[in-house]
Symmetry: none
DNA sequence: GTAAAAATACTCCGTTCGGGTGATTTATTA
DNA sequence: TAATAAATCACCCGAACGGAGTATTTTTAC
């Protein structure tokens, strides 16, 4: 399609509070002609300021975002950015592998998820990949991601009945979740299902774990959005 | 971590019905000393036969599995293999990107998912990665995977819809209700809307009165059912 | 310009919730 | 049968919640 043109540069931004790491990364990315660094920031607030005040020519295509930041986190920053600038791709860039952050990052709209020990070459190809519609993910992270959508117990293989993707809730848990959605208290639920309030509480805690939420309201929202009930 | 031993070879198997492709792949993988090809198969049945009759020394660590196969599919083959040989990692290797197959592959226990145009070097590193607990996934595939767990974005594309508010909630109240639906606490909401937590609480109490509920969960359910947000 | 209404801020109080931990019983399955 | 997993019940603690009431400021309406 485009033959003559010198491949538009990818505009990149770095958000990273660790000075040494940020500068090193800046330096390394500088070696790649196909990239153009439009800004670096050492906090989520600074990043938001940059983006919101950018002239179009300096608007980043991709942001490498650290998760751990002073002030608002990289996840919160991503969320706020995505609200207004849907088109910016954000790659979470972190030393953390924990599921919670991964899940939240995805929820708020991160496109990729790389560990900081990723080789620079791979970081650069990741930057290109997101621009081509891909989602570069460190393999060890990808496995966790798969764990989130895979169902451990599934016997009908050829059955083409995908249904919804629930969070692997047991029937008892689903029953309790329904009561939660109805706005009932643990005690009320206990009476309804003939269990002790403590058991109900335990079930609800397990439900939270599986759904990656930590409040009734959040659980209700997720359950309804995903048609679990 | 791994220092002493001369790195045990990774035992690999290839399941691929296209002769040319299979032979080419066999040849290429032969250049890598760290790999040992234990068998190739041109069908799911042949693969199962190989594995079930393998002596332990020839049991593959990783199988590169084509999805499209004559007879039983690669997905079905994977399912049957995983039933008995949980420890074998299986990388789906395909030209297809469609969601259904990706989803099914994950359901039956595939560890990785690569497109056939993946460079041979990356295939080899993928083989190593699965042995180290990772899940190599082609970026374009990973994005679909993310789509499965990410929350649906609220698209304000069709603004022409007549906005109906079943309850006479004020704009401020609706704003706060939205935060409640997001599972936020009063304090978090207060920070978000620049009000004191007490004011937020007052608003929420008023919302409850108007909606005739008395808990966040119930409010969330009603709001979503009635499309207030 | 004034009165009514809405928005904001705060206090007290009792209850519920969510997180953590651990014991006991009951399937399930190897 | 033995080992495991799942379900049930229990307690502690601090934070958050929900109810009721009061008061000040701002906005709206007449």
């Amino acid at each position: 399609m485009e033959s003559k043109e010198p491949e538009k540069k990818i505009k990149v931004a770095i958000v990273e509070d660790h000075d040494i790491f940020r500068k090193r990364l800046t330096e390394l990315l500088g070696f790649y002609d196909e990239l153009e660094l439009v800004f670096t920031a050492d906090s989520g607030e600074a990043c938001l300021k940059h983006v919101f005040e950018s002239e179009p020519a300096k608007m980043p295509d991709v942001i490498l975002m650290d998760i751990e930041l002073p002030g608002i986190s990289g996840i919160e920053t991503t969320f706020q950015l995505k609200e207004k600038f849907e088109e910016i791709d954000i790659i979470m860039f972190t030393v953390f592998e924990d599921d919670e952050r991964l899940f939240e990052s995805i929820q708020v709209g991160a496109t990729g998820y790389l560990l900081k020990d990723t080789a620079i070459d791979e970081v650069v190809s990741s930057l290109k990949e997101v621009r081509e519609g891909g989602s570069p993910i460190t393999p060890s992270i990808a496995r966790k991601l798969i764990g989130m959508v895979s169902k451990p117990k599934n016997d009908n293989s050829s059955k083409s009945e995908p249904e919804v993707v629930p969070f692997d809730l047991s029937p008892a848990e689903i029953r309790i979740l329904e009561q939660v959605i109805d706005g009932k208290s643990n005690k009320e639920i206990a009476e309804e299902v003939f269990l002790s309030p403590w058991t109900v509480k335990t079930h609800i805690k397990n439900i939270y774990k599986k759904m990656h939420v930590n409040s009734r309201a959040a659980a209700v929202r997720l359950a309804l959005k995903r048609d679990i009930v």
